[in-house]
Amino acid sequence: MNIFVLLKRTFDTEEKITVANGKIEDDSAEYIINPYDEYAVEEAIKIRDEHGGEVTVVTIGEEDAEKQLRTALAMGADQAVLINTEDDLEEGDQFTTVKILEAFFSDRDVDLILGGNVAIDEASGQVGPRLAERLDMPCVTTITKIEIDGTTVTIDRDVEGDVEKVETSLPLLVTCQQGLNEPRYPSLPGIMKAKKKPLEELELDDLDLEEDDVEAKTKTTEIFLPPEKQAGKVLEGETADQVKELVSLLKTEAKVL
C-alpha cells in the first residue's frame, strides 16, 4: 500500500509567543512535528506494518524542516520528501499549500493519505479536505479509529464529542484526531537507521509550478497578542462565604448568571 503522511513543523506547545516587528518571534523557538500530524505518522506506520507497503512523509517548508522529517523516519516511516519553498515563496496560504501538494501527488500512485486534523499554529484545518477535493478522493476528517480490509475502510470519527461510524473505500484521505493512537518515541536504532533513509528535496520548479500558480488568496495584515489578562480577585473567608460572594459577583459584577 502506498501511504503518504502530510506533516507540518510547528512551534513546541510549551512555547510562549512573542511578536516583534509585526511577526511572531521565532529565533529561539523549539520546533516539533505538529502533534496531530504525529498521530498520522504513527497510524501510517501501524497500517504499513499490518498491510505492507511504504510510508512517505511529505512536508512543505524550509531546510530546517528536515529535522522533523528525520524524526518521522526514526519513528519508522520509509522515506521523506521536503518541498523546499525557501527561495520561491514569501508568503502562502492554504490555497498555496494545496496547489503544491496537488502537483506533487499528480503523478503518484496513492492508496491512503493521512494528515493532522489541524495544525496548532495557524489552525485552519483546511489542507486535508482541500487536497482531497483536488485529488477527487473521499475524505474523512477527525478520525479516532481506522480499519482497512481490502479496499473497504471503516472509520470512527469524532464529531463534537459524538462518534460517527463511517464506511468508505480506498484511495482515501483522512485527518487524525487525538485519541487515534499513542505516537511512539523514536528508538535509538530507529534514529540510526533514519539517517540513511531517503530524503528527497524538491522545489517548485521540479513540480512544474511557477510562483504565480500558487499565489495566496488571502493575506495576513497584522499579528498581535491578546491583551494581558489581569489576575483577578482571590476570595477570602470560610468556604461557604466565598461561594456566596462568588455567586453574587458572577451575578452583579460579571453579569454572567
Binding site: T13, E14, K16, I24, P35, D93, F95, I120, D121, A123, S124, G125, Q126, V127, P129, R130, L131, E133, R134, V140, T141, T144, D158, V159, E160, G161, D162, E164, K165, V166, E167, T168, S169, G179, E215, A216, K217, T218, T221, E222, I223, F224, L225, P226, K229, A231, G232, K233, V234, L235, T239, V243, K244, L246, V247, L250, K251, A254, V256, L257
Partner: protein, 326 residues
C-alpha cells in the same frame, strides 16, 4: 462595496444552532448593505427554520430538502451547497466554524479555487476592506486577515460575533431549491452519542472543567451537576484525559478544543500553558484549586483556594438558591 453574501445555516436535532444567527450577523457586516441570503440543507420541512433565519436578519432563504441530506456527509452537503453557489454567484460565503463547517468549507473553497479564512472571531469593514480577526497558536496570538483575490469566504467561531436581535416583523422570501445528489462516498453507518446533551463545548455559554485534581471519573460527577445547574457543559484538561478520568473529546487546550464561553469554571486545573491557550479568552474565568500558587489563578477573574469537593457542592446549592430567589 456592497456584496451578496450566502450564509450557510446549520441545524441540530431539528432546530437551528445559534452560530447560524451569528453567521447571519457576520454576513450582514461582510455584505456592507448588500444582500444576505440564507441557505439551509436538510430533509423534510425546513420552512420554520428558514423563517427563523429571516427573523434574525437574512434577506431571503434558500432551502434544499433532500433525503440524501438527512444526515451530514461532506459529499452530500458539498454537492448541494455547490449547486446553490453556482445559481447565486455570491461574492461572500459565511458559515459557522463547527464540525460541519470545518469539514465542508475547505472542500468548497478548494473546488471554487478561492481563499478561506477559518475560525474568525471578529469581522469589520475598514476603509472598504473586509478584515477578519482570528486566533493563531490556539489564542496565544491573533492575526488580521484579508482576502486578496475573489470570493470572501470565512467560517466564524461560535460565541464571538453577536447575533442580531430577533425581529419577527421581518419578512423575506423562502424558496426551495431542488438539487441532484450523486455518489456519496462516505456512508454513515451509525452515530454513537457521547455528549451528555445537545451543547457542544465550542458553543457552550458555561463550561465547568476538571483537571487532575478531580482524581477519578466519579470525581467528574459534581462538576457535571454544577454544569447542569448552570445550563452548561463539562470540559477537561489534558491531565484529566491522559489519566483516563474522561474522554478525549472533552479536552480543552492547545491540543483539544479552544473555547470562549461566557463563564469558565476551572476545578482542580493547575493551568499549564497548553491549557490556558484553549480557554484564556473566555469572558469570565473562575478558578477553584487547592494550591494558591497554581498558574490558573493568574488568568482567573475570581479564585477560590480550596478543595473542589468541598467548594463545588456548596456552589451548586448556592446557584440553586439564587434561582429559587429569582
Amino acid at each position: 462595496m456592497s456584496k451578496k453574501v450566502l450564509v450557510i445555516g446549520e441545524a441540530r436535532e431539528g432546530s437551528l444552532r445559534n452560530v447560524t444567527f451569528e453567521a447571519i450577523a457576520a454576513g450582514n457586516i461582510v455584505s456592507d448593505g448588500g444582500e444576505v441570503v440564507g441557505v439551509l440543507c436538510g430533509a423534510g420541512d425546513l420552512n420554520s427554520m428558514a423563517q427563523e433565519m429571516v427573523y434574525h436578519g437574512a434577506s431571503r432563504v434558500i432551502t434544499v430538502a433532500n433525503e440524501e441530506l438527512k444526515t451530514y456527509t461532506s459529499d452530500g452537503y458539498g454537492q448541494a451547497i455547490y449547486q446553490v453557489i453556482q445559481d447565486e454567484s455570491p461574492e461572500g460565503i459565511i458559515m459557522g466554524h463547527t464540525a460541519i463547517g470545518k469539514d465542508v468549507t475547505p472542500k468548497l473553497a478548494s473546488r471554487l479555487e478561492s481563499g478561506l479564512v477559518s475560525d474568525a472571531t471578529e469581522v469589520v469593514v475598514e476603509d472598504g476592506n473586509i478584515v477578519f480577526t482570528r486566533p493563531i497558536y490556539s489564542g496565544k496570538a491573533f492575526e488580521k486577515k484579508e482576502v486578496t483575490d475573489g470570493l470572501v469566504f470565512a467560517t466564524i467561531r461560535p460565541n464571538n460575533i453577536p447575533a442580531l436581535t430577533r425581529d419577527d416583523s421581518l419578512a423575506g422570501e423562502v424558496t426551495e431549491k431542488e438539487v441532484e445528489i450523486s455518489t456519496i462516498r462516505t456512508i454513515i453507518k451509525d452515530v454513537i452519542k457521547k455528549s451528555s446533551e445537545g451543547v457542544d463545548l465550542s458553543e457552550a455559554k458555561v463550561i465547568v472543567a476538571g483537571g487532575r485534581g478531580v482524581k477519578s471519573s466519579e470525581g467528574f460527577e459534581p462538576l457535571q451537576e454544577l454544569a447542569d445547574t448552570l445550563n452548561g457543559t463539562v470540559g477537561a484538561s489534558r491531565g484529566a484525559c491522559d489519566a483516563g478520568y474522561c474522554d478525549y473529546s472533552l479536552q480543552i487546550g492547545q491540543t483539544g478544543k479552544v473555547v470562549t464561553p461566557d463563564l469558565y469554571i476551572a476545578c482542580g486545573i493547575s493551568g499549564a500553558i497548553q491549557h490556558l491557550a484553549g480557554m484564556s479568552n473566555s469572558k469570565v474565568i473562575v478558578a477553584i484549586n487547592k494550591d494558591p500558587e497554581a498558574n490558573i489563578f493568574n488568568v482567573a477573574d475570581y479564585g477560590i483556594v480550596g478543595d473542589l469537593f468541598d467548594v463545588v457542592p456548596k456552589l451548586i446549592e448556592e446557584v440553586k438558591q439564587m434561582k429559587v430567589n429569582a
